[in-house]
């Protein structure tokens, strides 16, 4: 299944609206709606995992240092094939598949919505390393959410799998909401 994963890197940063994804991406006739209406105030660090690597497939990944994120973030995926995200070795790794991820203590005052409706499999894997996170069909927040709603809906999917193999300080989330 993993061999199907085509490699496509997308980095899109705008001052008023932001959509950030990096790594491998696998589209099999899918319709993806990553609608991110985000206002960033403060510093934004798109390469915070400098010693590691991260992949975001069919998802939204906002990260920043002391970053204020207002407005709503929506990630909608319909009729996708398999969505797979893999990171091998390194530190500070992330593998996200069909997920909304807020990291580095950001302050979010909008709503976070992740709606996945697909018959395919969702898979996120981190192999070895430290401080790793693997998210599949998940909303993961490390920071403050001051208002709004966090809504994670995963329907009609195949298998949803998140795996961290070896390493330390790891977290694997599948079809979950994790706020730390």
């Amino acid at each position: 299944m993993f061999k199907k994963a085509a490699v496509l890197t997308i980095i899109l940063i705008a001052s008023a609206s932001l959509s950030y994804a990096k790594g491998s991406k696998n589209h099999n006739g899918s319709t993806h709606h990553n609608n991110t209406q985000t206002t960033i105030v403060g510093s934004f660090n798109g390469d915070s995992g400098s010693s590691g690597s991260e992949t975001t497939t069919g998802g939204v990944d906002d990260r920043g240092s002391s970053t204020l994120v207002t407005a709503d973030i929506q990630n909608k995926i319909k009729k996708a094939g398999d969505i797979t995200s893999i990171v091998s070795k390194g530190q500070n790794n992330q593998a996200n598949a069909a997920s909304v991820v807020i990291t580095n203590g950001s302050n979010v005052s909008g709503s976070l919505m992740n709606k996945i409706n697909t018959s395919g499999d969702l898979t996120a894997i981190v192999e070895e390393g430290r401080n790793n996170i693997a998210n599949a069909g998940t909303i993961s927040v490390k920071g403050a959410v001051s208002e709004g709603a966090v809504v994670n809906e995963v329907t009609n999917t195949g298998d949803v799998t998140s795996i961290v193999s070896k390493g330390r300080n790891n977290q694997a989330n599948s079809a979950s909401v994790a706020i730390n």
């Binding site: 069909g137 920071g143 998140s162 961290v164 790891n170 989330n173 979950s176 730390n180």
Partner: protein, 198 residues
């Protein structure tokens, strides 16, 4: 005097950096899952694995809803030490919620933990140093299977567990098929279809 002022200033400057916590104010967290098989697995130490779960730390929120309807197996596995494994559960640490709703339907749930100082929750609501209003909880599952090997481990199956927590009314509805628990090691704590207050 200069040295004292310097020390005080250094402490004040270091305070915002030392803390790392989340705050949910008037926030509704909703996890709705419908479909096939869900699994999360970790190997190593200081790991956390969540499958079909809501896990919140250091936060203050409104209504927490976890709704899972799976036609397959929900599973979470961990190998190593200091692991936390949650399947179809709501787990809160150092947090506050107005209410908690956890409704689970699955063909089966399976957790496996190997190591020391581990916590494994299956279809449970766990409040650790937390406060919540009403807790509405139901679990309907076919076969539940859990394995723990190691020491100082804790297993919760279909249970509501409070540790240094305050809460409102608790409504629990359990409909489980066969439950299989395999535990080996020392200082184990197992709760099945229970309400535990510590």
């Amino acid at each position: 005097m200069k040295s004292i002022a310097f020390v005080i200033t250094a402490c004040l400057l270091s305070c915002p950096v030392s803390g790392h916590s989340s705050d949910l104010l008037d926030l509704k967290a909703h996890n709705s899952v419908r479909g096939g098989t869900y699994s999360a697995g970790v190997e190593g130490s200081d790991n956390a694995a969540n499958a079909g779960s809501v896990q919140i730390s250091n936060s203050e929120g409104g209504r927490i809803v976890n709704s899972v309807r799976s036609s397959g197996i929900i599973s979470a596995t961990a190998s190593g030490n200091n692991n936390r494994v949650n399947s179809a559960s709501v787990v809160m640490h150092d947090s506050i919620a107005d209410s908690i709703s956890n409704h689970i339907e699955a063909a089966g749930i399976r957790n496996t933990v190997r190591g020391d100082n581990n916590v494994s929750n299956i279809g449970s609501v766990v409040l650790d140093r937390s406060r919540a209003g009403a807790i509405d909880y139901s679990l309907k599952a076919g076969h539940l299977h859990s394995t723990i090997q190691g020491s100082n481990n804790r297993l919760n199956v279909g249970s509501v567990q409070f540790s240094d927590a305050t809460h409102g009314n608790v409504s629990e509805n359990i409909d489980m098929g066969n439950v299989t628990v395999s535990v080996s090691g020392n200082d184990e704590d197992v709760a099945i279809d229970s309400v535990v207050v510590e």
